[in-house]
Symmetry: C2
Subunit: 604 residues, 2 copies
Amino acid sequence: MAQVLSDRKDVDFVLFDQLKVDELSKDEEYAEFNRKTIEMIVTEARNLAIKEILPTQKDGDTIGARFDNGVVTTPESFKRAWELFKEGEWVGTSMPAEWGGQGMPHSVGIAVGEYFSAANFAFMMYTGLTNGAAGLIHSFGTEKLKKLFLKNMNTGHWTGTMLLTEPEAGSDVGALTTSAVKNEDGTYSISGNKIFISAGEHDLAENIIHATLARIEGAPAGTAGISLFLVPKIWVNDDGSLAEPNDVVCTGIEEKMGIHGNATASLTLGGKGKCRGYLLGQEHKGMRAMFQMMNGARLHTGASAFADASAAYLYALNYARERVQMRRADAFEKDAQAVTIINHPDVRRMLITMKSYVEGIRSLLYYVAKLIDQSHIAKDEKEKAKYEALIGFLTPICKGYVTDRAFDVANLGMQVYGGYGYIKEYPVEQLVRDIRITMIYEGTNGIQAMDYLGRKTVMDGGKAMMAMMKEMQKTFNTAKEIEVLKPLVEKTEAICKRLGDSAMHLGKAMMEGKIMNALAFSYTFMEASGDTIMAWMLLWRASIASQQIATGNKKKDQKFLEGQIKSAEFFVNNILPLTNGKIETILGACCSAMDIDDESFGGK
Amino acid sequence: MAQVLSDRKDVDFVLFDQLKVDELSKDEEYAEFNRKTIEMIVTEARNLAIKEILPTQKDGDTIGARFDNGVVTTPESFKRAWELFKEGEWVGTSMPAEWGGQGMPHSVGIAVGEYFSAANFAFMMYTGLTNGAAGLIHSFGTEKLKKLFLKNMNTGHWTGTMLLTEPEAGSDVGALTTSAVKNEDGTYSISGNKIFISAGEHDLAENIIHATLARIEGAPAGTAGISLFLVPKIWVNDDGSLAEPNDVVCTGIEEKMGIHGNATASLTLGGKGKCRGYLLGQEHKGMRAMFQMMNGARLHTGASAFADASAAYLYALNYARERVQMRRADAFEKDAQAVTIINHPDVRRMLITMKSYVEGIRSLLYYVAKLIDQSHIAKDEKEKAKYEALIGFLTPICKGYVTDRAFDVANLGMQVYGGYGYIKEYPVEQLVRDIRITMIYEGTNGIQAMDYLGRKTVMDGGKAMMAMMKEMQKTFNTAKEIEVLKPLVEKTEAICKRLGDSAMHLGKAMMEGKIMNALAFSYTFMEASGDTIMAWMLLWRASIASQQIATGNKKKDQKFLEGQIKSAEFFVNNILPLTNGKIETILGACCSAMDIDDESFGGK
């Protein structure tokens, strides 16, 4: 039967053959997550996603979240889905069991989340934000705050959000003006206006806990003076019961291109002077805490975009296998019949392009999820630091590169459908619109590129990058032993080396003070890095597939395994030459983008 | 003052400095279109576009075309705009004056159309389709049909459409089943169902003339048995007055991603057996005629997508000049202030990318429009054939390559806006959705690529391509004499040569019967060609700009002219290396896309 949302065979291949996440169960933290359990969890999630969540997707788009006089209503079907989520304990899948979560490894949670996000991205944002806010409380909250909030959030009785953006403080978080004044009882009075708050107001849960950035009176300017607060929509008594509403007023929601099922709220805090919050962590150290949440959110954003791309690939693939249109271009007989469009060369080009990105990205995201698990159970600080450096280094790729490619994949999906792709009767149109936001929020992809080049590569002295290349080399060494992969590895190694050269080149430029010129290439550098990482992941898959073909143990998966080799072959031969071009432009160092006079952009 | 929709200085630069379209007035056909007149026309169109058409854009999106029981209603503001269009005689701008048009050169009409389409693409589709259908009547209609229809269509009293697509005949036009039976009075009874009919039903005009493909009873299978008919919505008496409705029933309109202001109608012809049509041209020769309209429609599609991209560039540029966010990355002083985002390197990268595509595409489209004019007034058949070959060769580029890049440009525009780009309060969100259709209709861009490689390059024996390269060489020879452009020309010439190699390589593969493998690279080949043509156009512009800077006659445009050189510099150094990569993949000839087993695509 045709797979939808996500290709189960591929999910299992990554989980068990490539990453062996079941081996995490050797650690007592994840002892119960053996292969059988993981398979059962993924199967359950998949069933729920297909049977119950997917049918809510269109409601999210057409009915959407609606605003009326301060109240936001979600579609009826969302409420039912949320109840099922609570019942099945799918909200806090990777949160600690002692606080109401399931304690699942992230590398399992990501497979679960892939099915759910592919089924309804806007719906899953309610859990994504909740996990992010709960994670902050878990990391920085006092015992009291944990007890007050965590369990209700991890079980979906309450949800969470993050309140960063203000009208004049978007990418520039440090410019925010929301203020906090300490009260005698230790709480803070909060006052300000926040915008673009995903899941900021809704009717799915009894309470919403807003992780809020604000500036305590007299704090230093910029990010160094920002503190983090927990601002519940409804105040919570010390015994955990709900008290009075907390002067958090939703003043409207945005009309957007997509993700209509998730309210993007404008919130006024303390309009009547009665908004209270708890300090989370230390005064003026809010950005450090918020970065944790933002990094989590960035990975979540990449994963959500990817899930929709995976769904788009399968929709397009299934359509291409069914839709009959035109004879083969090499069929000259008079009575040649029209064929399914999967037979047409350009459709195959689109499908194999989609396939190789979907596979490469799935491996990358699951790999990073496993690094998080490994860091979580690491026995010494050095080992932990190694994992964390790699996670930090790969985070902007998982957000910036992945969301760009996910958008491309969805657009190719639309293209495979032809005219039907553009109409709402077919599923890809919504996916394209929904995905588009992921390239913008949690830091635009331009911001990701700056972070990747400036902070994660150059300021790090290239250490994390070298650590990654060491990991890559392990894959290359194995793959080189396989006849059919050897030439592919050689090409990829050459690109890798040149990628290193381009990093050196940009690092040198920055050291010499040519910061702006270097940053004008940050996006291209992120792209070239992402491509190289894709090739790595695809070669890794292809080696395993080759080995499995050689042993002959997986006869029934023969075609699937051959497909792994084809993806790697396609990517290395058809995409990496463009990567080489990107690296050329970096090394070429032509800085027209910076040199051009502002006025010469025209338009006056 | 900030320019909107289209940059007037650049429009004039292309019209008069690059293409010298005013010199067409040396021919009596265009005698009245001297520079002063052209400037006046563009100014009038621009004013009307900004003051009257642009305000209807959002209505088109939010109110849209609505369907109720066979009747389609457009927004009220569209009706007023249409009246203004009729009054100002803006419908048939390039149609012959004797038939109610303005007789304007296409190269002027395209500048006019750019402003209008940028102001409201969905609205302008009503005129675009009308011109297309009227063009068919003009080329293939009898004197009687011309008299019956042309004047009313060219003046906007009636509109036109093209009825090709059926549920099982999309890209595969030859599969259509709509039938025609000859009546005793010489008309034909038409019967069938058509879908995806842009402007197929509406309330802007009294009548709609449907250019309809159908199969006369007993006709051969496939495209060879297709005939073209004119099917009026309301039958027209021989004296030109309206008679009874013609059994053409609109059964619904599509819910689409964008262009909501234009009804995409499903039409049932002859449901009651009473639909009549006139044969247009000869029996069974319908495709030949329709190709004329489709080619026109393809150019129009590229031009519309481009107009929106031009608007997106200016919106983003103006926003980047006003929006203050973050200090410069190289400002380390403690009191460094936030700056307008045009100062940030990655924003500049996006802007100069948008700028160079917008400029390159404007030049290309206006160039092709001028070729149409030149072909129109050509004095001998050989000259005419030369122009027509070039037009035919460049048409798939103007559609396939241009619409892809226009979509990219609009998406970059959204990205410059950050979060604001995704919400409907700002203009780019709609532009992205509207443009997306242009990559699909009038033949998907994959179809364009097949046409470009298969028909226009290989089957043509490369003659048109060589003719184009000869034209390119003229530009290169001039540019090479200019110091600052010399290295750019050398790089472009190298790419040009390799593009030629890749054409030879693909041609050889097709001759040897490896048709499918070659076609799997058709899209990449179209991309590489388009890039090279962009570089050509930008170098052409840069040479003129350099010469004008050297003479010092245009001091007040100094910055604009410098901007021309920067665009060329950016494109050659930052885009052509990727083009080189594309050509590498073609020459590399790795055919994983074809070799992969259908089952290996997965999803089962």
